[in-house]
């Protein structure tokens, strides 16, 4: 009967969506196998109040000044102390920038199995985790062969809990930090002035490629994205051309995304681009070349000039009621 701990990452006093996606999936699993779901919170526990509703049976919190700013070493020590005290069989961590920063460090400290970017979670006496490799060109099912595992979970891989959970009792734990000083820490966080939707967390993404012809036309992508409540992405061709920053790049050497809807505009569909977005639930391609490889990866396609289709699509979406 596995017990699954879930690290609840918060930002500005609320839990990240991926945290509740993980508690939900863990709950669906232990409802079959037996065992419990434990939400683990470091620092301000405000965001943990809803943990029960999202499937957790219990909440464990550690507070203190040490958690006022993030650093990988403090997080590693505190969660290692939790694992040592409570012995969960699996600890799930969202594959966010923070999660990816400390989870491997924690696994090394625990000498645990470590599996990144999971999109499937199963148990048959041992954990079996499913994850994309080669940027999604292939999937691996990974069997855990250690007493404890740390697994990263990709945002949007799992739906939220619909089972109407009860209140989860909370208790505190000792993070064992007594006087610990990390070698390095975050001293400043810089957020871009405009409030943009983060690609890896977005439910809808509109991406543009070289078919846009020039940098100024990327605004067509931004306008359509705004109309759809979407994040704006890009192919490497226009990142390398300097039209948009690298943080917009989708693909093997950019972001791997799996939104509900991915709209590729003026993108040919090179294998490295497909690698980053082919696990999207629904893919739309707009490209004037009917033979462009992107159509092989798409669910819906329009083979026409993007300069005519994109503004029309923005209007058509605005007109939906």
């Amino acid at each position: 009967m596995p017990n699954i701990a879930v690290y609840i990452e918060q930002s500005g006093g609320t839990a990240k969506k991926v945290a509740w996606q993980m508690t939900a999936e863990a709950r669906r699993l232990v409802d079959r196998t037996g065992g419990e779901v434990w939400a683990v919170v470091l620092g301000d526990a405000a965001g943990a109040a809803e943990a029960g509703r999202h499937g957790a049976h219990r909440v464990f919190t550690a507070s203190g000044d040490a958690f006022a700013r993030y650093d990988a070493e403090t997080w590693t020590r505190a969660l290692a102390a939790f694992v040592a005290a409570r012995r969960p069989d699996l600890l799930l961590v969202g594959a966010t920038a923070t999660g990816k920063d400390f989870a491997p460090r924690l696994a090394a400290r625990l000498d645990a199995a470590c599996v990144s970017d999971c999109v499937g979670l199963d148990f048959d006496g041992g954990f079996r985790l499913r994850r994309p490799i080669f940027a999604g060109k292939c999937y691996a099912e990974v069997a855990v062969e250690a007493p404890v595992a740390v697994a990263g979970v990709r945002p949007n891989a799992f739906p939220l809990f619909a089972g109407g959970g009860a209140d989860a009792p909370a208790e505190s734990f000792d993070p064992g930090l007594g006087g610990f000083a990390p070698h390095a820490a975050v001293v400043e966080t810089l957020t871009s002035a405009e409030k943009k939707i983060e690609l890896t967390e977005a439910e809808v993404i509109v991406s543009g490629g070289r078919g846009l012809k020039e940098a100024a036309n990327y605004q067509l992508i931004e306008t359509l994205a705004a109309a759809m409540g979407a994040a704006a992405g890009a192919s490497r061709a226009i990142v390398d051309a300097g039209w948009v920053p690298h943080s917009h790049q989708v693909g093997q050497t950019g972001k791997t995304v799996s939104p509900k809807l991915y709209v590729a505009v003026g993108i040919s569909g090179a294998i490295q681009h497909l690698a980053g977005m082919s696990s999207s639930k629904c893919i739309v391609a707009i490209n004037k070349d009917p033979n462009a490889p992107i159509f092989k990866a798409a669910d819906y396609g329009i083979a026409a000039d993007l300069f005519e289709v994109v503004p029309a699509l923005r209007d058509a979406i605005a007109a939906l009621d």
């Binding site: 691996a140 990974v142 409030k195 819906y300 029309a312 939906l320």
Partner: protein, 260 residues
């Protein structure tokens, strides 16, 4: 300053994975192998630091790999400015999991007092992005991951790390493990004369036994490799009239795909 750059030889990004059916093996024999693209940023950053500091800086490239990896060490590391190379050749570590890799790399790195350990933010074959932070834990030192800007001071560093919707500035003491992201620099290409000369630079080949290390045990096992879930054929929306096509697409996305 002593810098180590940990690199991996990986299948090139053009690689197509052909899997007729799910199975326990992945045929890797036909792959073209290149330096992991993110490791190229790590090599370049090391060389730029050396160019700033002059002779007072030595760069060691470290890899775990079979004889096949020698070419990558020579052409992509030594020929662009690394001073020496260490390769751990251990057939049992072919396709090792990241924790095994990190334990062996840590054993190599403990033999030199490195101030800075650079590596790519992830390898593009298994996409785990684990080795960097694991190394930092095993060496009990600072870490900064997905770094797009790095500044060094007297025994300290400041790194700009990519995070959701912005950047985080991490400051700490050296030694540090820094994982490199695109944007940090623009890697140079090796010149032919430098490739010729690279063969003369010191290269050491070790086994785990040489490091006084037993081959670390794996904590995970891949039981099945499977192709991505198949996708239905693309439904082309008639495009004679762009406005009508856009309206039809919007309707399909709402009523059929139910994604907006």
């Amino acid at each position: 300053m002593k810098i180590a750059v940990c690199v991996k030889q990986v299948p090139d990004s053009e690689t197509r994975i052909t899997l007729a059916a799910p199975g326990p093996e992945l045929d890797r024999s036909g792959f073209t192998r290149v330096l992991n693209p993110y490791d190229a940023f790590a090599v370049e950053e090391a060389v730029r630091i050396k160019e700033r500091l002059g002779a007072d800086c030595e760069i060691t490239a470290v890899t775990i790999g079979s004889d096949r990896a020698v070419e990558t060490l020579k052409k992509d590391c030594l020929a662009v400015g690394c001073d020496r190379a260490i390769r751990v050749n251990e057939p049992a570590l072919e396709n090792a999991e990241p924790l095994q890799t990190a334990k062996v790399l840590a054993a190599v790195l403990r033999r030199g007092a490195y101030d800075l350990i650079l590596t790519g933010k992830q390898a593009i074959d298994d996409d785990s992005a684990q080795v960097g932070p694991m190394l930092a834990e095993l060496l009990d030192c600072s870490q900064a991951t997905v770094v797009t800007k790095l500044e060094l001071g007297e025994g300290v560093f400041t790194a700009t790390c990519e995070i959701e919707g912005g950047a985080a500035v991490v400051r700490g003491s050296l030694p540090a493990v820094v994982t490199c992201q695109k944007g940090l620099n623009e890697p140079r290409l090796p010149s032919l004369p430098n490739i010729m000369k690279a063969g003369m630079k010191p290269q050491e080949t070790l086994t785990c036994a040489d490091l006084g290390l037993e081959i670390p045990a794996a904590r995970t096992r891949v039981t099945t490799y499977s192709p991505p879930p198949p996708r239905a054929a693309c439904r082309m929306v008639a495009a004679d009239d762009p406005a009508a096509a856009a309206r039809e697409l919007a309707r399909l996305l709402r009523d059929e795909a139910k994604v907006i």
